[in-house]
Symmetry: C2
Subunit: 455 residues, 2 copies
């Protein structure tokens, strides 16, 4: 057997030339998104005022298995991809586990995460269509940063609604987006009807992704030559992020390795959906497949404690309804620090796959345990992880420790979706011992569903 290096890098020409649309292979397609006014399945025509046409087509495409990556996107990918697949030799040694641990590291770019994979694609299609400005929301800030970079690259204007609590905790995230030319507004804001309503209901609101989405959509819908883009949840985003899983599988195949377990953190699903894509392909085709674990925070337990039903994608109830695991679009999670995992819903594709048993397990973990794992990982592997990604590290360590008990030499692959360089406020809190876990009560969770039509 070939010696496995610390980092497996593919050649530039091995970057996938097509994205994989796993929806085309699903046994049971997810239920269609519904127009919020008519409650009928949305059409490309419905979506076009909000999304670029090409992206609207991708969103509704459940037939084309592979979609070509346009040249300019591919060239941009070459600046920071292929991303390394890293063998966690030092983590294995530290844990004294017989397990082999690999992680796909998506943080080697200035956005600090995998978000750039979809940001550059969405900005490209907007540019091609002659759009002048994009609007979006950002929670932790990775998506906003990624889209700022993409818009800066293609010369598009960008307005980012940033969840207020994140904007306060991460002033440097705001600064980096501004450095790339974006306009950043803390949400809820007084620049939109939705924002003003939220502020009048709750002037001290720290905001939520759901509210920020509503604001960004409202502005896009009301401004000429402007479209809205979203960094997670949507089918098109999972499509673009499939590149993570495709690269991962190609890299491991060079060493004849097929993983036993694949682990990713899941907020809206962009990272997890991308990571599992190529292996889910196998499972959907009835072949051998890894055991898939989606990890989420106990404070925002969408898959583990949410309902599988139709819900709005935003708090303001202006978006289409999607059938997904959801805590209810009125749910506002407590101010925990994994900003990227604070979304009330989950990708409809992943929701359906989980519902149908294709995703083997969803697991919720506590924040203090997540940061303990993050610090251990940082010390032995030399990379300071994002709080979001550290949810996957926590689960990977737990699985590796199980192997230590049983003696099994399982191969564990997890997604290190990003770095924590802009999350030092959370690390400071953890280091000082003042971080707590936020386990919501059933009553608190129930509040998320107020005013939602039962479908």
């Amino acid at each position: 057997m070939k010696k496995i290096p610390y980092k497996i890098y593919l050649d530039e020409k091995e970057i996938p030339k097509q994205w994989y649309n796993l929806r085309a292979d699903m046994t049971q397609d997810h239920s269609p998104m519904l127009h919020p006014g008519t409650l009928k399945p949305v059409t490309v025509t419905d979506l076009e005022p909000i999304f670029c046409k090409e992206l609207a087509l991708q969103e509704l495409n459940n037939t084309d298995r592979f979609i070509d990556i346009p040249g300019p996107i591919y060239d941009f990918y070459k600046m920071y991809r292929p991303s390394p697949l890293i063998r966690a030799y030092f983590l294995e040694r530290e844990l004294q586990t017989p397990a082999k641990i690999f992680y796909k590291f998506e943080g080697n770019n200035t956005s600090g995460s995998h978000k750039l994979n979809s940001a550059i694609a969405q900005a490209y299609y907007a540019k091609e269509q002659g759009i002048k400005m994009l609007t979006t929301e950002t929670g932790a800030g990775q998506w906003g940063t990624a889209l700022s970079m993409a818009c800066g690259f293609f010369g598009l204007d960008l307005t980012v609604y940033m969840v207020k609590i994140s904007a306060q905790q991460k002033p440097y995230r705001k600064a980096i987006m501004e450095t790339y030319g974006a306009k950043v507004i803390a949400s809820p804001s007084d620049t939109t009807q939705i924002g003003r309503r939220m502020l009048s209901d709750n002037p001290d609101s720290g905001g939520s992704l759901g509210t920020a989405i509503s604001e960004a959509v409202e502005v896009a819908a009301g401004t000429p030559d402007t479209r809205y883009v979203l960094g997670s949840v949507l089918n098109m985003v999972l499509l673009h992020q499939s590149i993570i899983g495709l690269e991962t599988k190609t890299a491991l195949e060079k060493y004849d390795i097929y993983p036993d377990i694949v682990i990713g953190c899941a907020g809206g699903g962009s990272n997890f959906g991308g990571l599992i894509s190529a292996y889910m392909h196998d499972k959907l085709h009835g072949k051998q497949a890894p055991y898939f674990i989606a990890v989420e925070p106990v404070s925002c337990p969408t898959l583990t404690r949410g309902k599988f039903c139709y819900d709005f994608c935003d708090t303001g109830k202006v978006t289409p309804l999607a059938k997904m695991y959801t805590l209810g679009s009125s749910f506002i999670p407590s101010g925990n620090h994994a900003g990227g995992l604070r979304y009330h819903g989950m990708s409809p594709i992943l929701s359906q796959l989980y519902h149908d048993g294709y995703i083997d397990e969803a697991r919720s973990v506590e924040q203090t345990g997540v940061f303990a794992a993050a610090k251990l990982f940082a010390r032995v592997e030399g990379l300071l992880p994002a709080p979001e990604s550290s949810h996957a590290i926590r689960a990977a360590i737990d699985e590796a420790l199980k192997c230590k008990e049983t003696g099994e030499e399982k191969t564990i692959v997890f997604g290190l979706s990003g770095t924590g360089y802009f999350d030092m406020g959370a690390y400071i809190m953890y280091n000082s011992g003042s971080m707590t876990d936020n386990l919501p009560s059933d009553e608190e969770l129930g509040k998320g569903f107020s005013g939602i039509p039962v479908l």
Copy 2:
């Protein structure tokens, strides 16, 4: 000719197995360091109370051309090396230059810079010798972060004296060092004699690298099982950093490319000395060699306006004297933001090479021009550079624009020594238009030499 990819990655097994000690090849060795008490050349015995023995030996070694990299250091290198050599295709397109621009990117690790190359080596030798604690100083914070990572990895205690103005501007740098287990003290501090003296002379001092060095050395000298380590200036540091240049040359040789110009920013010389190492080898052997440009800020113009003479390496005058280009060890630069380039002196090796004409040019550049280059680079190349590294970007862009005028297809290689993720305060200042250039007067520069023996 083979198509040049965006990123040239060497295989893991192509990481150099030896460092290159260019001092062994110098026509004229640099003048020896002098003991501050006796003014006689220092011996290993003089250095041993401050440095680990193996590092003291490396410091004085001017005969061994290549020195083996010990296994545990090599294994650690494999976690983040080889670093990529990147073809700046998009920057070339933006500038419409016929020049070919490459940059060696050393920021793909959590310390965010090349500093880790020497930090892990110095921590390893300390661990091997049974040392329990290290002390050091840090300016911009890259070195302190790198050493925190290295000490965390090997289980050593670490106290970092951080230049006060940097500590204030970069609270998250402090946090990341603490996350890796380091104790961080703003310098000047009341924890040392030197610090208390500096504070009594100037209570509002923002500090300097020179003062922070004095404090760290004082603590190391007075604490059992403790040694001092330094991230630049020293011969041993240039030795460890030679890996940058060795990798660069190997990568370009794969494509039969020999650069015309090599550009690096120079503070104490660790990055520049490392970057040029393999090509300087050629020049020292009378072969074809690139045109070498060292770039520094106008606010701390060591090579361009300093004197070549003996001086202390620190403000407190407790270290040995080195013959080097210096602004005088009492020089405290104005609060410009490239914290890593605020040192009053320059590596004795590089000083001698510059004096003897082996380094072709030293160039000082203004901060606002540096940030303009940084923002342009960030937008088109997708990486937000450190302010220090952006000095090299400025010069590289200027050289590429000259090629545009003349039509010359020169190959330009520059060192992108680090990322700017912890430098957003400086970017905020630049974005707001409130950044100014600090061109010191001759009188201000002259103050640096008060109280220094003329040798």
